[in-house]
Symmetry: C2
Subunit: 167 residues, 2 copies
């Protein structure tokens, strides 16, 4: 490689507004996956001894908004997956929508330079902030992919993976 080609890889890939839109697009798709489950199956169905999709969705809810609050407020409170225990799909979706606003607001309060700074997220995950945020998105896609298998096993066609902001 020439030095010109090498220098390329240190340049900007995407900006933070684009990353936030990307994340919220994924969250919109995950919301539609939650909706696609029959109420009973959302809370009871699983494969291979894994968690129900409701449990996975609660995990996602317990990460995104609380993590961004921690980053913005420099707090290292532990991750708490027991703070929210929904008993209906409606309750789960309502909380999901609340967190959509929290994520939007708190993400936009992170000063640009902090994305590259290290932070001890939840008092446990000491990584650059951008890596922690990428992890939230990766983790959501990972579990949602598992939700797709659950839906197919239930004979339900999942939403198109590539449609992010469709309603």
């Amino acid at each position: 490689m020439t030095s010109t080609q090498t220098s390329t890889a240190t340049g900007k890939f995407m900006n933070s507004a684009q990353l936030l839109e990307h994340w919220q697009g994924h969250r919109n798709l995950t919301r539609r996956v939650i909706e696609a489950f029959p109420e009973k199956d959302l809370f009871e169905f699983s494969l291979a001894g894994m968690r129900t999709f409701a449990k996975m969705a609660v995990e996602l809810i317990s990460i995104g908004g609380p993590a961004l609050r921690g980053i913005v407020e420099n707090k290292t409170d532990a991750l708490d997956e027991e703070a929210f225990v929904p008993s209906t799909k409606e309750e789960l979706l309502a909380k999901w929508d609340e967190e959509t606003v929290v994520i939007h607001d708190y993400f936009n309060r992170i000063p640009e330079e902090r994305f590259q700074e290290s932070f001890n997220l939840f008092g446990q995950y000491e990584f650059p902030v951008y890596q922690n945020i990428m992890y939230f998105i990766d983790n959501e896609i990972h579990h949602r992919g598992q939700g797709y298998v659950y839906l197919r096993a239930l004979g339900i066609e999942p939403p198109f993976f590539w449609e992010r902001f469709a309603v």
Copy 2:
């Protein structure tokens, strides 16, 4: 929000070298998921009428390297998922490793400004280059999450999701 807070969201989130490392970390994990399947199950096992994990891995192979070649060489040849038909795990892993090098080399040949430019990938997916590349990674995490369900259904413990470059 104040104007200072709003301006934050247009700043740099991560650079392209970090994105490439992130992607190759995911590819390293996917490689270990392929390895975790017994040879026969890799090519024959599936749940809910879905594809085998070998088919999913071939899809991933048919996207990453060929897409980057298309972007760098400004070619819009169609996606071809039939070009590589492995019959053994060894063959699949060898091709995976070849593509690791292709992805490294071609990603580093993309000039920084092109990530924000639109390109008609495979003559079919007209999006900014950064969005197409994010999609490759998302798609890999999505299908690998499904592979995790297959492994668990087979009674096999998958690799840790958060270990990317472990061997």
